[in-house]
């Protein structure tokens, strides 16, 4: 399983400024990886290109051993005509009911399955949305700030559970949380600020798994490395 970009350039139609400029990187093997950087540097644009959007770009994106790529973002909504539990059941493929029950429990959503989507808090909305994607068949799942508005402790629980339950899948996590990305991601593609003409850097994260032992020194070093990169 490999995701590789070579000399990728992308400019939105009608714009003169390239959002992605000569980007090359490679991510190998299943795991939890990240795109990190300030707002407006092209993280979401890159994610959409990777997810095989229809936009035209220069350069190459290569997906090795990846059939299904899904992209999810934090503003998605579920239809409001029935309960979130009802929707979740409808989109759960046969044989994955057990996984659904488990995810609902880990994501702490058992009590809100009878509620409509509009009645949930923003954090709950993002969690229920993420669950329905995790229940689908995929090789690469891109999470664009999918855990926004979720408290830090639960976010950690969710990320560790995802890493545990989907060890054979690749994830691309877009987040603005430096600590979280440094702790849980294996490869971190850091986007530099375009105004300072910094390129993109691939940095190795701590890739903590369940029941990890925190090595503060190593974590600080990773965070420092990321901060220096953008």
């Amino acid at each position: 399983m490999q995701l590789e970009c070579k000399h990728l350039n992308f400019t939105y139609p009608g714009s003169d400024v390239a959002v992605i400029n000569n980007l090359s990187f490679s991510m190998k093997n299943p795991g939890f990886n990240a795109l990190f950087g300030p707002s407006g540097v092209g993280k979401t644009s890159l994610a959409k290109l990777i997810a095989r959007g229809n936009a035209r770009y220069d350069g190459d994106i290569m997906w090795d051993d990846m059939e299904t790529i899904l992209y999810t973002y934090n503003l998605e909504r579920l239809p409001g005509w029935s309960s979130t539990g009802g929707h979740l059941s409808k989109v759960t493929p046969p044989g994955k009911e057990g996984l659904k029950e488990h995810l609902v429990q880990v994501f702490e959503l058992t009590d809100v399955l009878g509620s409509r989507f509009s009645q949930l808090s923003m954090g709950q909305q993002n969690r229920i949305n993420l669950i329905r994607y995790l229940l689908q068949e995929f090789d690469l799942l891109i999470l664009d700030e999918s855990l926004a508005n979720v408290d830090e402790k639960l976010r950690e629980t969710i990320i560790l559970a995802i890493k545990d339950l989907f060890a054979d899948k690749m994830f691309l996590y877009i987040s603005h949380n430096l600590m979280e990305v440094s702790k849980f991601c294996r490869q971190i593609l850091v986007f530099g600020k375009p105004s300072e003409n910094k390129g993109c850097f691939m940095i190795s994260g701590q890739d903590y798994q369940n029941k990890y032992h925190l090595d503060k020194k190593k974590l600080d070093l990773t965070m420092l490395e990321i901060m220096n990169a953008f």
Partner: protein
């Protein structure tokens, strides 16, 4: 909602009558030009029952015509929602045709079909069809990306689901447009009856007009106003019931 509609109409009607009476008083006009209140009440006693059945006759054509135009607007709107050539063709055609005053076509319909029920129904449907179609097209052709994304990327999207999502997300807009189109359908029916028909309140107004009987016309306007207010109120109440049944209030709207 129903009573609010009736109150609103009564206020407008009373202001209108007051304005006419003020003109009558200022210009010292006779009852023949602008009738006084006693004459209006006396005329009401004479024609109320007849006009009531005339308005009900008109309303039946209105309801049927509106129903037909709603079905047509949804059928064409759903077919024209895609950005394919057929969708674009339907949209451009609808926008161009609606720019033409449909009432101007009424004489052609009467020449071809004569007086009677069918021409009235056709004109009522045509007058409220195009504004309805534009609204339905606008709603159906606008993707609700935040909801549709999941179904598209997971290959679950079907046209029925797409229509359901877009209709649900625009439920308030749709019910308002449908309730509003009732006035258009009523206007279309009355215009048709006014031009050439042998029944309905428009036909009675035409007779009153030839008799220069403003009292009868004022009574007819009162009956039309009250009945259309009740009809619109019922439509709006039905819309609310559907909204409440299908969805529930959003958290943010409560706070």
């Amino acid at each position: 909602m129903l009573f609010r509609r009736i109150y609103q109409f009564l206020i407008v009607y009373i202001i209108g009558i007051g304005f006419l009476l003020a003109i009558k008083a200022v210009l010292s006009l006779s009852d023949y030009v602008i009738p006084g209140i006693p004459l209006v009440i006396e005329t009401a006693g004479q024609v109320f029952t007849g006009y009531f059945f005339d308005v009900m006759n008109t309303l039946s054509v209105t309801v049927l015509g509106q129903g037909i135009s709603i079905i047509m607007a949804f059928t064409v709107g759903i077919a024209g929602r895609k950005s394919s050539w057929i969708g674009s063709f339907i949209k451009v055609t609808a926008y161009n045709i609606q720019a033409y005053p449909i009432v101007a076509l009424a004489p052609i319909i009467f020449i071809l079909l004569g007086d009677g029920f069918i021409p009235r129904l056709m004109i009522a449907s045509m007058i409220c069809y195009f504004p309805l179609l534009l609204s339905v097209l606008g709603i159906m052709a606008t993707p609700v990306t935040d909801i549709e994304h999941f179904y598209i990327v997971t290959g679950r999207m079907r046209w029925q689901l797409e229509v359901k999502i877009r209709a649900f997300e625009n439920l308030s807009k749709l019910t308002t447009v449908i309730a509003g189109s009732a006035t258009l359908a009523m206007a279309g029916t009355i215009v048709a009856e006014f031009i050439a028909a042998n029944a309905g309140i428009g036909y009675s107004i035409r007779i009153a007009l030839y008799q220069s009987d403003l009292a009868k016309i004022l009574i007819a306007l009162f009956m039309i106003g009250i009945i259309i207010s009740i009809y619109q109120g019922i439509l709006e109440t039905l819309g609310e019931v559907i909204k409440v049944k299908w969805s529930i209030s959003k958290k943010g709207e409560v706070l």
